[in-house]
Symmetry: C2
């Protein structure tokens, strides 16, 4: 059985559908666009994530008997619309930025084409997935950038909703994290998993020594021992005494990290455990990670701050109708004029202009057909054609491809884009 | 088929299990406690939510063939531990605060008793659910308090992960919201759903008038019309002209709300639509809601800020071993001594002291057996006894009970607890 995603939807999507089917406008060819008016928190760039998950969720956006009978019973839509939904599957087309791609204000990261009826009801699902995953990927990319060559593990599952934890692990991996604590992210999306022990394991035993010995017996000396349950320096000595210099790593989860890390490194070296690594995991965000750049840390674990998008838990994407057919079939650009929320109508294309391999501009072109733009990377690829998703974007293979794509394109950013302070986007957006 | 929750778990839970089963300490009777060291953001009280969801998720915490073969294949645990997991279901006991209850720093909101092995592996799932849902409920309660008698609808689904959206709707309802946009929250948890149309519906039509007429035809004149796609005052006039004075409501989603709302109310009244309500929905949080107290708003919709916990997306709960058996079976209090994260060992009980019905103190008592505390409300109830969950806490009935409980106990707070500014907890916690 495959779980339906159809009710992960705001009621107004279905009431709009109901009214549009009734007056015939539901059949009008339509173009919806996903974009963000600005980058949260004065960030220099955003990282798109969630596309692969979205394509799988759209495939499962079907109304089965359970969904239909509930909608009918609650009177959400008319019986005629219930019948229409029974046959529904998305038969239109979706194109957009590759997963892992960077985006800037008004970048058209996803374009959905189909009848108004078939496209409007996907709004909630599309925005839930892209807003959540891109917020995490954007925060993760900043942490990866701050960490330099040192690897980062995602360990925020205990600080976010249990299913959001899985997608957060996936998004962080795409943005360059090396591993996750979350087992379902490992099984479902192929993210490498890691983790050894919490403080409870030490407290369970009659002594810290007994706990360390038990862990070494089970996992071998290359394991990571948690050394801050009682006294850190005593624990480091016990750890090396039991595991020998092959001890894989020690983990520190509290205290004034720059000071503690320095002292632990010195003690490990004195004890001959020069190859033993130090990993730190205490509510780290990109600023704390940057603050440890000069400390002898070997790897970081980031949790709470990462899964909260480092202060910006949603990416600010909206889903707007930008073009639709008139009664006679002629396509017309449309846009609302609300105060501070005005949009730009029309089907759009997007290019990243490059000079010597460095990004200089996000060029957005309003046009019916794809234009040619020299010295630019074409940003929009087909994702779903006539209802069929390109399998390259799905599952663990899609995640791997997105991670590789991200690693490639993040290198195009100008150096000032790596600044952590708030400011302007790394490159300007130009709408032509 | 019921979906397993077993892999919504950090790898270290299973590696600890593996090592503890190997050295025999996994059988030690253990007491784990969930508490938060502080209230995020200087809030005056927290609202516990997620308990009912948690009990259902614990019931589904079983390792089927798919989970076991993946764990074996990845080498997460030994073959002996795979066999142990195949038979696993939680057979211990869980007690705690009722869902919807208030909590304060160090309140023991959940206590899990069982063998170390069976209790430790629930950590991730317990914290994911309680941290996420309580963060939302706490933010929601502040918005409800700021809104006074005016109803609030939750409409944040597009701004949070698609499954987190469902639990966020549920948590907001428990904390006093009246309805949600999220259909799955309606079906799964019995939360009333609402919603009519987005800007796309107006843009789809050849004119705003045509869109309004289509919506009125489908939903009747008591519907809510969205009036800010083009010019608000023109839209209000069109709306009343088409629907008559029976027009249910107008929704405003942009602009300088106090000014716009005042003007719209005046125009509606001039047009004779004195019963037509005004609902506003523009990125509201508790401060924006409080700022509209003097405006003629009839109801609020809150989304983005609510589902982000109004700046604090996680509640800060931790899951700590506080007591466990020695090799000879004697129970011993345990606690780590990490810098700034030291805990208090021992099984705890909790009471809310009241004077004339007003809460004065959170009393926490370390004791093996439940003590008697006069003039106090006993906060801890049994939730799972010998592996069996109390059905009163489950499903839509559990949600309704939690909402009623919350409405009752929030009235016990002293008046200063309703302040939105950061500060001390509304009542002190005393540990005896």
């Amino acid at each position: 059985m495959v779980t339906s995603t159809a009710l992960l939807t705001d009621r107004y999507e279905l009431t709009m559908l109901d009214a549009a089917l009734r007056d015939g406008t539901g059949d009008r060819a339509s173009v919806f666009e996903v974009f963000s008016r600005r980058l949260s928190g004065g960030r220099r760039y955003g990282v798109l994530a969630g596309t692969g998950r979205l394509l799988e969720a759209v495939e499962r956006f079907r109304f089965g008997d359970a969904e239909l009978s509930w909608l009918g019973q609650e009177g959400v839509v008319s019986p005629a619309t219930v019948d229409w939904l029974a046959d529904y599957r998305f038969r239109g087309s979706i194109s957009g930025y590759r997963e892992g791609e960077l985006y800037f204000p008004t970048s058209p990261v996803l374009t959905v084409e189909g009848s108004f009826a078939e496209a409007v009801i996907l709004e909630t699902l599309i925005l839930s997935i892209l807003n959540a995953d891109s917020a995490i990927a954007t925060a993760a990319a900043r942490m990866v950038s701050a960490a330099g060559d040192r690897p980062l593990a995602e360990m925020g599952s205990r600080r976010t909703q249990e299913r959001a934890a899985v997608s957060a692990s996936r998004a962080a991996f795409i943005a360059g994290f090396s591993a996750t604590s979350n087992l379902e992210a490992g099984r479902r999306w192929g993210v490498p998993t890691m983790g050894t022990a919490a403080h409870a394991f030490t407290l369970l035993h009659d002594s810290e020594e007994a706990a360390f010995q038990a862990q070494i017996d089970a996992m071998g000396p290359s394991t990571t021992l948690l050394v801050d349950t009682y006294d850190v320096m005593t624990a480091v000595e016990t750890a090396v005494r039991l595991a020998g210099p092959e001890l894989g790593a020690v983990r520190i989860d509290s205290g004034d990290l720059p000071v503690v890390v320095q002292a632990v490194r010195a003690r490990l070296d004195e004890l001959g455990a020069t190859g033993t690594r130090i990993t730190v995991t205490n509510d780290l965000d990109e600023y704390a990670i940057a603050g440890l750049a000069a400390s002898p840390v070997d790897s970081y674990g980031a949790g709470t701050r990462l899964v909260g998008g480092s202060g910006y838990p949603t990416a600010g994407f909206v889903y707007k109708l930008v073009e639709r057919a008139d009664a006679d079939g002629t396509m017309r650009a449309v846009a609302k004029k609300s105060v501070e929320k005005a949009g730009t109508g029309g089907r759009k294309w997007a290019f990243r202009l490059l000079e010597d391999g460095v990004a200089t501009e996000e060029r957005i072109v309003v046009a019916d057909e794809q234009p040619a733009v020299p010295d630019a990377r074409d940003l929009i690829v087909p994702l779903v054609v006539d209802g069929a998703a390109d399998p390259a974007h799905l599952g663990a293979d899609g995640v791997r491809a997105a991670r590789e794509h991200h690693a490639r394109v993040v290198r195009e950013l100008p150096p000032e884009a790596k600044r952590l302070s708030g400011g302007d986007p790394a490159i300007p957006t130009a709408l032509r």
